[in-house]
Structure formats: C-alpha cells, structure tokens
Amino acid sequence: MTNLLTRIGLALALPVVLFAAWWFGTEGSDNFYVPPLREILRTFPEVWTGERIRADVLPSLIRLAAGYTVAVFAGVCLGVLVGSRRRVRAVLEPVLEFFRAIPPPVLVPVIMLFAGIGDTMKVVVIAAGCVWPILLNTVEGVRAVDGVLADTCRSYGITGPARLRHLVLRSASPQIAAGMRQALSIGIILMVISEMFAASNGLGFTIVQFQRSFAIPDMWSGILLLGLLGLALSVLFRLAESRALAWYHGQRRAQRGLR
C-alpha cells in the first residue's frame, strides 16, 4: 500500500513542479502571446464545452481511431508475411526502411493530392504514418519465434492458422505492442497536423483557428487539452497492454528473480 502511494507520489512530483513553475512563471505576464496560466485555465471550460467536444474533439478522435486501426491491421498482416518468409523479407526490407525514414508529416501534401481534403485523407495520413513502427516491430517479433517452441508445434501437428494464432502472433505480441505504442504517439501528431492543412473541424483545425483570430488563451487551452488527451490515451494503452501481456511481464519478472 505504501509502495503504491510512493509510486503515485513519484509519478506526480514532476508534473506538479512543472505546473507550479508555469503558474508562477506566467503569473504577472503581460506578454500577449504568453498569458498567465490562471487565464488559460479560466478559458478552458468556456472553450471546451460539450458542444465543441462533440463538434471538434470527437471527429478528431474518430479519425485517429480509424487510421490507427487500419495501421494495426495492415502492419500486423504485412509484418507476419514479411517476418515469416525470408525471401519476401530480403526483397522488402530495404524499401521498408526507406519509407520508414520519411517523416510522416510530409506525406500530408502528397496524400492530399490523391485522397482530397476530406476525412479519407486524414485517416490515410494517420494510417500511413502509424503503420511503420507496427510493421517493423511485427517483423522482428515474428522472426524471433523460438526454435524449440516452433519444433514443439510442428511435432504436435500445430500448423497453418492454429500455428499463426497460438504461436506466431502470441510470441510476437510483446513486440507488436511496442510498435503499437510508438504508433499511438505518431498517430496523435498526425491527427493534429492533418487537420492543420485543410479541414473544417477537429482539434488541430480549432487550435489554428484560435491562433489566427488571436484568441491566445483559447489556443493555449487547446494545446493543454491535446496534452491531456495524449496522456489519457497512453494510460489506457498501458492498462490494456499490461492485461494482455500479463504473461510476458510475469515471465520477465520470474527470469530476473532467478538471476
């Protein structure tokens, strides 16, 4: 119990310090572009009303969810294929590394050319950016399937779809999860960026609108909201991961305990 309290205390210490620094650092600020935090927090509930959340935050999140889901699906499918076929890997790996090295935001203008400026474009941008860490991590995970376990499966006649489900995907799942975690933060970035280019709603769009209309505290409150959203999503992800990969963390702990 005290252990848990200590952990919570440690986790909250730095945020509290930063928050205090921001608060007192901007307390007497008369710089138009850096309003006092007090001002930003006062604006926050006025700006982010239920109506605005429905009209701007929700569409952003839906596009993020759609793009992310597509990326997970495509990344895992392709990753399993590339990871389990040495030939395919030899052909594709250099190309994949090339595409991965391209910063995803530059894809926005390109994808706009093909997919227009609607929701499709934004979903495609998010998916195109998120797919790489998932794909490459899946490839690594699939390649690293243990030889003894693979022999065990073969000798018990566990092949085809059963092998994929019980052996390949499960043993690659820690790496897949690591890729998905990286992809999540990329996805949030691309969600905002894709809305800054051409959009009529969304978080990124709203923040840019505030900036252009010199509603500076409102703009800051949007940035704050984005940060909180990112935090919430990553906490959710961690919770889901620690449940799904309980075996993996348990095994790691057991192995460390032996040493």
Binding site: L149, D151, R154, I158, W247
Partner: protein, 282 residues
C-alpha cells in the same frame, strides 16, 4: 518392428565444409520398448532425434514408423525436449499447454478435459492447472511437458535429454516417473541421454553410439529386474557392471575420436552439451 532407423546419415552443409553429424545408424524399436540412447557429447544425438521426429530430413537412409517412411512429424509421436523453458507456451496456463495439441487433433471438449486432468494427475501436477509455466520450478515445467506428451496418447515418445537441466533430486523423481508411465501406459519410449547411469537405470536396452561421425557401437540388453528403484537398483552389482561397461565403451569411443580428430579435425559441435552447461549455470 514399430520404429525402424535404417542407414541414417545426416550431413550439415557447414560454412566452410560439410559436417557429417551422423554417418550410418541402423536400429529398431519394438512396440512397448523403453530404449535409451547414450553417446559422447557432440555425437549427434539431437540430430538423430530430430530426424526420427520428422523435424529434420536425413541426408541418406530413412526412419520408418509402422513401416511408413517418416517425411514430416507423424501423428502418434510426441517429443519432449531438453529445454523445458522453451518448449512450453509461456502465454498459456499449464492446462492450455497440455490441451492445445488435443484441440488441434480434433478431440471433443469433454474427452479433452478428462485427458488433461488425467495427464496432469499422473505427473503429480493435479493442482497446477491454472498456473503459468514460468511460475513453476524447472522440474515441474518438465513434468508439464511430459503431461502434454502423455495426454496426446502417442504410440512413440521421443525424449531428448529431458532431465539434463534439472537438479539431481528432481532428476531421480522424474526418472521414476518415466518408468512408471512406461509400465502403466505401454507406450514405446526412446530416451536420449548423455548420462550413463540414467541410461542403464531406465532402459530395457541401451544403444551406445560412437563419437561423431556417428555409428551404433553396441546394443546392450539391460538384464535388471523389472521393478527398479533409486536405492536398490543403483547399488545392485549388476547395475554397477553394466554401468562400467557402458562407461568403458563411451571412453573408448572418445579415445578413437581423439585419434580421428588428430588426423581430420573436429566434427560434432556439441550444441546440446553447451545448452546444458548454460542451464546449470543459471
């Protein structure tokens, strides 16, 4: 003859030159046999077992099960590997580990549950159904692997140095477990080991292999009483004689290979021996 190894030869295509792991092996197992296979370390025991399990294609010769040539893992054969920590699915509970091959075999749910429960009870793990393998000790993990093989109801059980990485006391218990299972279930067992005492204690027959390139050096009948136990059998004068005989054969095999080594260079790479010493150092 249930399981028949004829003129088996395996050559690995090495980086610089081909490595001949097995030269020419011929032996057979009748239904209900418990045969131990011993040989000096690095003599290709694991290679042989993989060829017999259909996991590795031999370069020449063949393995026949019920007079059918083995080209891939045959149904009716189960393998227990040395590396218990790597042969169980860490993401599945003990029960699911035992059950998965049965599900894959298409056995009905009720019957599966019975088989799993029986197999786990037989290896003394009736209360570990819901544990994960990594929560168990090494010896218990190997028991789970044995339970999985037993539940699969194989005709032939191949065991590749299954007790090499567990401590001596656990090992004695597991040896008795194998003798027990063999008598109760009437399954045919080929037990590969590098431990001479273990081979003599367990087997009805002991097949002694030469050093690499490997051939059968001797097939030794073990004329010890059917009922064996760690205390009396191991102090039996016949046991000591047999053990000394096998030991002398293995030493002779090693000496000969040293002479060959002096002229031709090293062949066996001793992968299983290496992983044993790693397992012990943990």
């Amino acid at each position: 003859m249930l399981l028949d190894v004829r003129g088996l030869k395996k050559v690995y295509e090495g980086r610089q030159r081909p490595v001949e792991a097995i030269r020419d092996l011929t032996f057979g197992l009748d239904a209900g046999d418990l045969v131990c296979l011993v040989g000096p370390s690095g003599c290709g025991k694991t290679t042989l077992l993989k060829c017999m399990a259909g996991l590795l294609a031999p370069t020449e010769g063949e393995v026949r099960l019920r007079d059918k040539r083995i080209t891939g893992p045959p149904p009716g054969m189960a393998v227990v590997f040395q590396e218990y920590g790597r042969s169980l699915f860490p993401w599945m509970s003990v029960r699911d580990n035992v059950e998965l091959p049965l599900r894959n075999k298409g056995i009905a749910r009720r019957q599966r549950q019975d088989l799993v429960a029986q197999a786990l009870a037989v290896v003394g793990l009736a209360d570990a159904h819901h544990a994960y393998p990594w929560q168990l000790s090494g010896g218990m993990q190997q028991r789970v692997a044995i339970a999985r093989a037993v539940a699969y109801q194989p005709d032939v059980l191949l065991m590749d140095e299954p007790f090499a990485a567990v401590d001596a006391q656990t090992r004695a218990d597991l040896e008795d477990l194998i003798r027990d299972l063999w008598r109760k279930l009437g399954v045919t067992i080929l037990f590969v080991t590098h431990d001479i005492d273990e081979a003599v204690y367990l087997g009805q027959r002991v097949i002694i292999l030469s050093s690499s390139p490997t051939v059968v050096r001797e097939v030794l009948g073990v004329d010890l009483p059917e009922r064996r136990d760690q205390l009396t059998t191991r102090s039996d004068s016949r046991f000591t004689e047999l053990r000394a005989h096998v030991y002398a054969q293995i030493q002779a095999a090693k000496r000969e290979s040293m002479e060959i080594l002096a002229t031709f260079g090293r062949a066996g790479s001793g992968k299983s021996s290496r992983s044993q010493s790693e397992a012990k150092s943990v």
